[in-house]
């Protein structure tokens, strides 16, 4: 066999194999084509290899080289056809078609309440400024909610109508019908009848200071309760976050600087802080805090230097230590940030509301 004839046969084989592989409509057809050309026993390539023996001795190296090229070409054509087959490409239109545009199998994620997200972010910022979270009870006694905070008995803030006092044991109506057990229900005993739902989280500051010597650097936060009628800007339960720093040499400049870092961290960018004189029983001097953001003054909350009477009430010496405290309403911060126009939305728990955050 001449070299030219051998090469021509091989070229024809490549063309034939490539078109048969490409035409295979499914995996079975492709397998049949594979056996036809690449079959180990009687494939056409195997037959062609036999022709190699018939080539003249001098032409052998060139014929061998050509054979190897053809073998690789046919194998490559098969591999390509196989890839197309497994990826679905080129499969006949009548079979199931892979549709990547179909919607994904979506996993439903839950959503954290926007108030929680706000609290966590504020806590996180204060944490970076060196303030540690402290917790305290929501049901408080008068000492922690008032007396230690320099709010004496005659102060209007202590009016029963301005607070949610607990009913005294025995006056609890409906107590006798409660429960389903066999035992008669014991009346709740309230040894100190002067208990109330805390009206501010400053109570936590008192508890921390009672238990710890300065320096104190905490934030307290949580639910507080005041008898406001529910409307777009009021709710009888809301959340406060309060910071307290007590140490030697703490001044209003530290307060202003801390609040500037805090506000700048939350809102981003450069902010300025403005103090307006105000009045709170537990701080003196007392101020309302505004921050300048986007060329507007925005009210942040109340602040001041811890009143010497408060320091004395927890056993600190106001000649030795001083400190500042500040507080803000979480609902207001959160509503402003997310443009929530009615704070009652926060407590409706409508899934369509919660899903937005």
């Amino acid at each position: 066999m001449s070299l030219d004839a051998f090469i021509a046969d091989l070229d024809a084989l490549v063309a034939d194999a490539t078109s048969k592989f490409a035409a295979a409509a499914d995996a079975a057809a492709l397998e049949a084509a594979r056996v036809e050309f690449l079959g180990a026993k009687s494939g056409k390539l195997k037959d062609a290899q036999k022709g190699l023996g018939a080539v003249g001795k001098d032409d052998k190296p060139a014929a061998g080289k050509k054979f190897n090229e053809v073998k690789q070409a046919i194998e490559a054509a098969f591999a390509a056809a196989q890839d197309r087959s497994t990826s679905g490409e080129g499969v006949a239109a009548t079979g199931p078609a892979f549709d990547p545009s179909q919607p994904g199998t979506r996993h439903r994620l839950g959503h954290l309440h926007p108030l929680t997200q706000t609290i966590e972010e504020l806590k996180d910022i204060m944490g970076r400024l060196g303030f540690t979270v402290a917790h305290g009870p929501e049901i408080e006694d008068e000492r922690h909610n008032f007396e230690a905070l320099n709010i004496p008995k005659a102060h209007p803030a202590r009016d029963p109508l301005e607070n949610f006092y607990l009913a005294v044991a025995g006056k609890v109506h409906g107590a006798s019908v409660q429960g389903s057990g066999l035992n008669a229900n014991p009346e709740p005993r309230t040894p100190n009848p002067e208990l109330l739902l805390r009206s501010q989280t400053s109570t936590v500051q008192i508890r921390v200071m009672e238990a710890q010597q300065p320096p104190v650097r905490i934030i307290s936060l949580g639910r507080v309760y005041r008898p406001d009628d529910a409307d777009a800007t009021h709710y009888p339960m809301f959340h406060q976050i309060e910071g307290l720093l007590i140490d030697k040499h703490v001044t209003m400049a530290d307060l202003k600087s801390t609040l500037r870092l805090f506000a700048g961290s939350y809102f981003g960018g450069e902010v300025h802080i403005r103090f307006r004189p105000s009045f709170f029983p537990f701080t003196e001097p007392s101020v309302e805090v505004d921050m300048q953001w986007n060329d507007r003054w925005i009210e942040m909350g109340g602040a001041g230097m811890v009143d010497p009477n408060v320091l004395r009430a927890v056993g600190y010496d106001p000649e030795q230590v001083s400190g500042f405290a500040f507080g803000l309403g979480v609902e207001r911060v959160c509503a402003r940030r997310h443009q929530v126009t009615d704070i009652r939305e926060f407590y409706r728990n409508d899934v369509r509301f919660l899903e937005q955050f």
Partner: protein
Amino acid sequence: MLISYEWLKSLVPLGVNVEEFALRMMMAGFNHESTAAVGDDFCVDLEITSNRPDCLGHIGLAREAAVVFGSQLKLPAAAPKSGAAKVGDITKLRVDCPELCPRYVARVIRGVKVGPSPAWLVRRLTTIGQPTVNNVVDITNYVLMETGQPLHAFDLAKLHGRQIVVREAKPGEKFDAINHKTYTLDAGMCVIADADRPVAVGGVMGGVDSEVSQATTELLIESAAFDPLSIRTTSRKLGLRSDSSYRFERGVDIENADWVSRRCCELILEVCGGELAEGALDVAASRSPREAVTLRSSQIKRIVGIEVPMPEVRRILGSLGLKENAVADDRITVNPPSWRRDLEREIDLIEEVARIHGYDKIPEDVGVPMARSARTDEDRVLAKVRQVLTACGFDEALTISVVDEGLSQSFSPWTDAAPLALQMPILERADKLRRSLVPSLLKARRENEAVGNRTIELFETAKVYLPQTGELPQEDLMLGLTSGGGDGAFYRVKGVLEALLAALAPAARFEVRDLTKKHDLLAIGRACELALDGEVVGVLGEVGAAALKKFELREPAIVAELKLAALLKAAVLVPRYAPTPAYPAMERDINLVVDEKVRWSDLAATVRACGGALVESFDLKGQPYRDEKRIGPGKKSLVVTLTLRSSERTLTNTEADDLRTRVVEECAKRHGATLRA
């Protein structure tokens, strides 16, 4: 406090426009609420904090403005001319209750002509929204708004016995007020009476019989001070709040009562004519002199953070009306004026100096020292709880801590004690501190159903309030959740809780127990208690049909509640490394057929006991299979997948098969289990 800007400027010359005035006053502590143009004048609303009752009149604010703008306060003379008749010959005054009424000043004017007020008076009162009645009443209101000291004018001819007796009310005593309503009085209330009956409730409201009318010619002008607490209680009990009671509640300048009385008489003589009787009846309880206050200049820097030079300190305190008592290089001792009851301590003076000097001078960029701050374990655990639950598709709810009687009674897994109650409801009928989060979540569920929301998966982390004998009630932090019911829902929610446990406390033993207490809320036989390391820490179950109806829920629901304190205790916040297994695991499935009464927990105990250390884990594959024809009635088939592994070598097939056979035999022996072909 509403002020007329024109009126104010008549008391203190100000070279600024009303915007500048409002801004500067705001920066001095009088929050600017609004400004409204009224004719040629402006009505400016400034907020007066409760420590500054001295500013509840134009003079008080003018005094502050004088300090802020460096101007001079111009006070009226308050020097009415009196006639020959002596007041003591015309009327009598007795104060029986000096604790309720520490000062009472009475003056008498006779021969007045009651009529409409002159234009200037009407204009000023109208600017600040005060109605006009007649010249006498208008003047008492005018002087109230000018000085902050309330006044009352009686028709002297209507006072029985032509006298005033200030006394405590008799319990049940009746009083006909100027608003034509009759009030029943109580002990502790201060009444202004004549010889026979109350003619005013002191500081709160005048009486209808003695009010000034067109026919009145003789006036008794009252300028008094009343006990703030008593005024507050009285006005609250009677439901009467007035400009007068508002000021008495906050405290008036007791020393100024006579000056105000003279000022009022001066204006009445000018506007209504008549003749003032000579002198005043003035009964005052003895008052101890107020102590001088010392301010050390070092303390200004220590609290405010900036130095204020001593001359500036003296200027500020002097302009605020404090009298210098002693001055040294480093300290100043002053006597506060009578109208500033709020200035008693050094810190009060520091605030005054800083406020007037200007808080804008305090820097906002000092280096606050750094300090360590650690996240609390509670915060770490709560973060994990929120992470797992939101990943599992639950939305976080926030529900109010106080619930109504119906919600309160619907579920109380932690206590049989009656709930703590408030003295008044927080919202609608809600007055019980909740003992479980579950009822609130079911209420939220109903409200979501009502607006057509289909997927309602809610959780909340909040406190429940459990009455206890001791100091304060016990407040336990709970995780409550609710999910939609239906096929497999119970196991889905249980799986969420298991995932939570696996995330927080993988080594803790988490198991279910039969309910030890009946809960009306839960479906019978389809609820359980949850135990962690042998301690009951939660409850999980389907909501029963009756409860669904009670909550008006259309769709089935699952609820659970878990004590977070228990999770906190068991939580492993810093996991410790264990070497990963060096040898491969082998799996063996066993398809066991058992009676319905045999529980997974029974089989699990047996597998654990007989499998020993080689059983790395085992699980239920799929759900139990039931088919009366194929496996018989009252039977279920469970596929248990065993994962076997040795820490020392690769297990052989024979070892694995032997272990499987032992487990099958043991399950047959203990639970009558048969192997399903």
